[in-house]
Symmetry: C2
Subunit: 178 residues, 2 copies
C-alpha cells in the first residue's frame, strides 16, 4: 500500500548518547525512500552554526531549543517533515516548541545514564566524571523526562530498527488521525 506522510515535526529528546541522531537518521532514510521530503536538525550540528553563540547554561539550553523550534516550524510550514535530534532537557521548552508547530510528536529516546556512559562516543561523560567538563546533562545538569511522549524508545534493549519502526508508526498514526 502506498501512502504519503503529511509533514510534521518529530522531536527526539533524551540524554547524550541515548541514540537520538541514530534513530532520526534511520527514520529520515525510510521517509526519503517513500518520497517524503524530510530534514534532520541535529542539535550538535546546529550548535556549530545557528546556535554557535550559545553555551550549556539552563538559559542557553532553553534558547537553543527555542531556535530549533522556530526553524523546524518554518520548514514544516513549507511541507517538510522535520526530525529534530537534540537533548532538549527542559519540559517547558519542549512544550513551547510543540505549540509553535502544526503537528508535533515527541519521541523520548530513553536509555539509562549508565548505558549512555558506557557508550560515550564523544567522551563527554568521562570528562564530566573527571571534573574536566561541566553542565553535562544527567551529571550536573538536569534532564526532565517527558511525561506523555508520543513515542518512547528504550535503546538499551531495543535495536535501532525497532526504534525506527516505532517512530514511523507514530508518524503514520498522526497522519491518519487528521
Amino acid at each position: 500500500m502506498r501512502y504519503f506522510v503529511e509533514h510534521m515535526v518529530v522531536w527526539f529528546t533524551g540524554l547524550s548518547s541515548a541514540g537520538k541522531t541514530t534513530i532520526a537518521e534511520g527514520v529520515e532514510k525510510e521517509l526519503s525512500r517513500r518520497g517524503v521530503r524530510v530534514q534532520v536538525l541535529d542539535g550538535d550540528q546546529m550548535r556549530r552554526n545557528l546556535c554557535r553563540d550559545l553555551g550549556f547554561s539552563d538559559e542557553d539550553r532553553m534558547e537553543n531549543v527555542r531556535r530549533l523550534g522556530v526553524v523546524a516550524s518554518l520548514l514544516e510550514r513549507n511541507g517538510i517533515t522535520v526530525l529534530v535530534a537534540a537533548i532538549s532537557p527542559f519540559r517547558q521548552a519542549r512544550e513551547q516548541v510543540r505549540k509553535l508547530c502544526d503537528a508535533f510528536s515527541e519521541v523520548y529516546v530513553n536509555a539509562p545514564l549508565s548505558v549512555c556512559e558506557q557508550r560515550d562516543p564523544k567522551g563527554l561523560y568521562a570528562k564530566a566524571r573527571r571534573g574536566e567538563l561541566r553542565s553535562v546533562t544527567g551529571i550536573d545538569s538536569p534532564y526532565e523526562t517527558p511525561l506523555e511522549p508520543e513515542v518512547e524508545c528504550h535503546t538499551d534493549h531495543e535495536d535501532v530498527a525497532q526504534s525506527v519502526n516505532k517512530v514511523l508508526l507514530a508518524i503514520e498514526n498522526a497522519r491518519s488521525a487528521r
Copy 2:
C-alpha cells in the same frame, strides 16, 4: 509560456523604509501564482522570534544576518525559494551568507536616506533625529552599499511593480544560466 524557477535565495538589502519587504512580498505573490514554493524571511519578524536576543550593535547585526543565512540555506536545500528582506548593512556579512547558499542573488533596494526619512512608517528616523533612538542605520550606524548587486531597485523613482519585475527577471536569468 510556462516555466519553473528553481529554488534560490534572493537577499533584499537596503535602508529601513527603502521598500525591501514590499518588493519581497510582491515577488512572493507572483512566484506563488506560478506554483513556485516560496518563503519570505522578514528581518523585523525574525527579530521577534529567531533573533529576539539580538540588539542593534554592529556585532548583533552581523549575527542577525548570519542566522537568517543559515535558515535561508536550509530552506533552499529543501527546494524552497527564499526571499530575505533585512537591512543587512555589512558587506562582509552579506558575502558570508552568499557563500552559504547554493544560488544567491543580492537585490539592492536603493532609496536615498531623505526619501526613507520622509516615508518612515515606523517613526524610526524621527526618533533617531530626536535622539530617542540609537544605532539607526543611515543615521548613526553604517550602511555599506552593495558593490555589484545582481539587481538594483531605485524605489524613489520606480514603482513597486517595476521593482518586482526586475527581481523576477533576475530569478529567471539565474535559472536559465544554470
